[in-house]
């Protein structure tokens, strides 16, 4: 038996396996030896995390490196104690107790005190090779143990024992210590690992159960995870986790490339596929970042919007196809009746003429109903495109006045118009407004008897223009008042002149008013007449800008492009200007001028937006620019603002804020986008 490193107290009975002995002997450097041992521990445990596995492996390693008759591993966490015992023998109960107690006694006093003896669970890993201990040996001769703190409230004790005395030398204790420390680390990691595993299982469950497809790729664009929904969309079988080659090469890889190259923070695209079936997908990509903000992958959400697009397309087609299908027969009917009434195929007698006229009138009525129905369908399908412009309600009413007058005079009704000369403008679709007034006046005429009066009033009420059509007619009952704007509600009225209504006029009127961001309501009492009132916002330049931005967003959406806004604001502009004695408006104009030169020619357009709370913001609309160019422009703008601020010493306390928002990532509606830009303004200089 070689002497030296292995210690002086080695008994001849001790057998270290030759393999390890020669290894130990060949390693002269103590630290290297420790490192090897550490490595062995780690390599054993790197793929293992169940606790009993750890214990078993630990015992295995102990066996290989140390000669012992008994080994115990104790783990205590909070007040739970697990004791594992290994021995090739079939030990007597007293021996077991002895080892148990000695192992526990290795722990720090305070921990020992908190242990409830009843809660100690002992598990015997007896190899039971059937070897019987010498009968009179039931006392331990040698015992060595090392306690290690794994983490707070968690301790590990590694212990070995032998019947014979003085078996374990310094080197053995060293080995024990190394093993114990490393095992503690591994156990700590194992528990951590288990937590991570549990958490990952939860996330995995969430991802798998998502209705949208989720695809995760690493920094090399390899697929890490493909959830069930994604597999379903691409027709991938359960066990597989690869995209079909065609989709990967021609769809996915180019998209990932675009996303990475342009270093985007988000990307939304709609793509049409014909395999595995005809479908439209909405793809959203976002980077995955670790704690330090480094990008380590990409997560892609896949929405199957085929149905939604189909429905949308059907809605559009419905309006045009159905209208054509309904109108053509009507036209034909009207034509032939007309031809007959004009006597072209031959003269008609009075009775025939009478009946033909009735048919013609009904065709006209049917036409009106269809027009109204189509109007409503369009509005409800969101397919109405208003063409708003700055105009005056006075102008609109005066334009239609001859019609209204004729209607009223035919029935002997008095018509009064009250419109102030200085009425502010509104931002409306003129044709639609004509429709609204025509409907309200038409109703008034219908329900007002001869000698009655109809008044049209328009006036400014704060930020709104309020219009009303009031009549001295029959009035509406309380019960019917709520239903007056409902579809196909026609109120009982006296039979009289005038066309029969369609029951849709007020519904359409209401929709138009609401879509113009106004309100409409009715006041009425039976016998006292009816008053329909509606409001429209007073014209502000901002309304035009929002409309313009909405149109641009629609264009961006249709052409699959992104749209960006830069916003510049000045915090507490008014108080700052008061302090330095300058006009706030002028100062803000100066701020705007300083960036106008930079952005001119590069951006779509720029406008000045004043919020209801009087905050001012300069908005720059950018389309058709890649991420890099935007970045450069942002810097240029910021630098220009900085230079502006430094241009005059009295501006040194000025606080200028900047923000950048994008469609569709930050918001989808124009107003929302502008609001978000305002909220995200960050003072940078």
């Amino acid at each position: 038996m070689p002497e030296g490193k292995v210690g002086q107290t080695i008994d001849n009975d001790n057998k270290l396996t030759n393999k390890y002995l020669s290894e130990i002997n060949s390693i002269l450097d103590k630290e290297l030896f420790e490192l090897v041992l550490v490595n062995k521990v780690n390599s054993l445990f790197s793929s293992v995390y169940k606790f009993t596995e750890i214990v078993k492996s630990l015992f295995d390693l102990l066996e290989k490196t140390i000669d012992f008759q008994f080994a115990s591993i104790l783990i205590t966490e909070n007040d739970k104690v697990d004791l594992f015992l290994e021995t090739p023998f079939n030990p007597k109960r007293e021996l077991v107790q002895d080892i148990r107690q000695r192992t526990i006694n290795t722990l720090p006093r305070s921990i020992q005190d908190s242990i409830d003896d009843d809660k100690v669970s002992v598990e015997l890993f007896s190899k039971d090779k059937g070897i019987e201990l010498e009968k009179d040996k039931f006392e331990l001769g040698s015992f060595a143990s090392i306690p290690v703190k794994v983490r707070s409230n968690c301790y590990l004790v590694l212990a070995i024992a032998h019947i014979n005395k003085n078996i374990f030398g310094e080197q053995v204790v060293n080995i024990l210590e190394i093993l114990c420390r490393q095992a503690a680390l591994v156990i700590d990691n194992a528990k951590l690992y288990r937590q991570v595993q549990e958490e990952r299982n939860i996330v995995d469950a969430i991802v798998q159960s998502a209705t949208e497809g989720i695809l995760v790729t690493d920094s090399k664009d390899r697929i890490i995870s493909l959830n069930i929904a994604a597999k379903r969309i691409f027709g991938i079988k359960e066990g597989m986790s690869e995209l079909p080659q065609g989709i990967r090469d021609f769809v996915f890889t180019p998209l990932l490339k675009e996303f990475s190259q342009q270093n985007k923070n988000a990307m939304v695209k709609e793509i049409d596929l014909s395999v595995p079936a005809k479908m439209t997908l909405r793809i959203e990509m976002a980077p995955l970042r670790d704690i330090s903000g480094e990008k380590f992958g990409v997560v892609t959400m896949i929405h199957d919007i085929t149905k939604r697009k189909e429905i949308d397309r059907m809605k559009t087609e419905f309006v045009s196809t159905v209208s054509h299908e309904l109108r053509t027969p009507l036209t034909t009917m009207k034509e032939f009746i007309s031809i007959m009434l004009d006597g072209i195929p031959g003269p008609v007698n009075d009775e025939q003429r009478n009946y033909l006229q009735i048919v013609k009138n009904n065709i006209t009525r049917l036409t009106r109903i269809i027009n109204n129905l189509l109007d409503i369908s369009k509005i409800e399908a969101g397919k109405v495109e208003f063409r708003k412009e700055k105009t005056s309600l006075a102008k609109i009413i005066n334009q239609e006045l001859p019609n209204f007058k004729t209607q009223a005079e035919t029935k002997g009704i008095n018509l009064e118009i009250n419109i102030p000369v200085d009425l502010p403008d509104v931002f409306v679709d003129t044709d639609k407004m004509i429709q609204v007034f025509t409907n309200l006046v038409g109703n008034a005429v219908k329900f007002t008897p001869s000698d009655g009066t109809i008044k049209i009033n328009v006036e400014r009420r704060g930020d709104f223009i309020q219009s009303s059509v009031e009549d001295s007619g029959v009035g509406i009952s309380k019960e019917s008042l709520d239903k007056v704007f409902d579809k196909f509600t026609q109120l009982d009225r006296q039979p009289g002149t005038g066309e029969k209504g369609t029951g849709l006029g007020l519904t359409i009127t209401r929709s138009i008013v609401l879509l113009h961001k106004g309100k409409i309501w009715v006041e009425s009492e039976i016998g006292l007449g009816t008053k329909f009132i509606f409001t429209l916002p007073v014209y502000r330049e901002e309304l035009g800008y929002v409309e313009q931005l909405s149109n641009q967003i629609r264009y961006a959406h249709d052409s699959q492009k992104e749209l960006h806004l830069f916003a510049v604001g000045c915090s507490e502009l008014n108080s700052f200007c008061a302090k330095i004695g300058k006009n706030a408006k002028q100062v803000f104009n100066e701020i705007e001028s300083s960036i106008r030169d930079i952005v001119q020619g590069k951006v779509s357009h720029m406008f000045h937006y004043r919020f209801k709370d009087d905050t001012e913001m300069c908005v720059v609309v950018i389309m058709d620019m890649n991420e890099q160019q935007i970045f450069k422009l942002k810097d240029a703008v910021k630098n220009s603002l900085l230079a502006f601020k430094q241009s005059l010493p009295e501006y040194k306390d000025m606080k200028i804020g900047f923000s950048k928002v994008s469609y569709p990532q930050d918001a989808i509606q124009a107003e929302e986008l502008i609001d978000k830009a305002k909220n995200l303004l960050e003072i940078f200089v």
């Binding site: 309006v319 045009s320 196809t321 209208s323 054509h324 109108r327 053509t328 009507l330 036209t331 034909t332 009207k334 034509e335 032939f336 007309s338 031809i339 004009d342 072209i344 195929p345 065709i363 036409t367 027009n371 189509l374 369009k378």
Partner: protein, 125 residues
């Protein structure tokens, strides 16, 4: 005595009955009328008849109104065309106007109005 040549109108509409009713009406007004029930036939007839005015329905299956108009314009830039539109065809109507359409009338239309339009266009020719 020289007989004044009747002005020729070409109606291109896939609705046969409607086209027939227009035929009756316009003939009674003293026009010579030709009918085509599709864009392709319409194009053919256009080359044969060389009409003074065309009534063109914008919504037709196969070669639609716009396509027909395009082809006609390739041959003749000036012949007056009145397009017959239905409600939801604003977009198409706008497209047509960019191709030099002289007027439009929406279905169902007032025949008298249509005849007035035709009269005024052809009188000025």
């Amino acid at each position: 005595m020289v007989e004044i040549a009747k002005k020729k109108i070409l109606i291109i509409d896939d609705e046969e009955e409607l086209a027939n009713s227009l035929d009756i009406r316009l003939k009674a007004c003293g026009y010579e009328v030709n009918i085509a029930n599709s864009g392709s036939v319409g194009l053919q007839k256009f080359k044969e008849v060389i009409p003074d005015l065309i009534l063109l329905d914008v919504m037709m299956p196969d070669m639609d109104g716009i396509e027909t108009l395009k082809r006609i314009r390739e041959i003749d830039e000036k012949v007056p065309v009145i397009i017959l539109t239905a409600y939801g065809t604003m977009k198409t109507a706008l497209e047509a106007f960019s191709m030099n359409v002289v007027d439009h009338i929406a279905k169902p239309f007032d025949t008298k109005l249509l005849v007035e339009k035709i009269d005024s266009i052809l009188k000025n020719k």
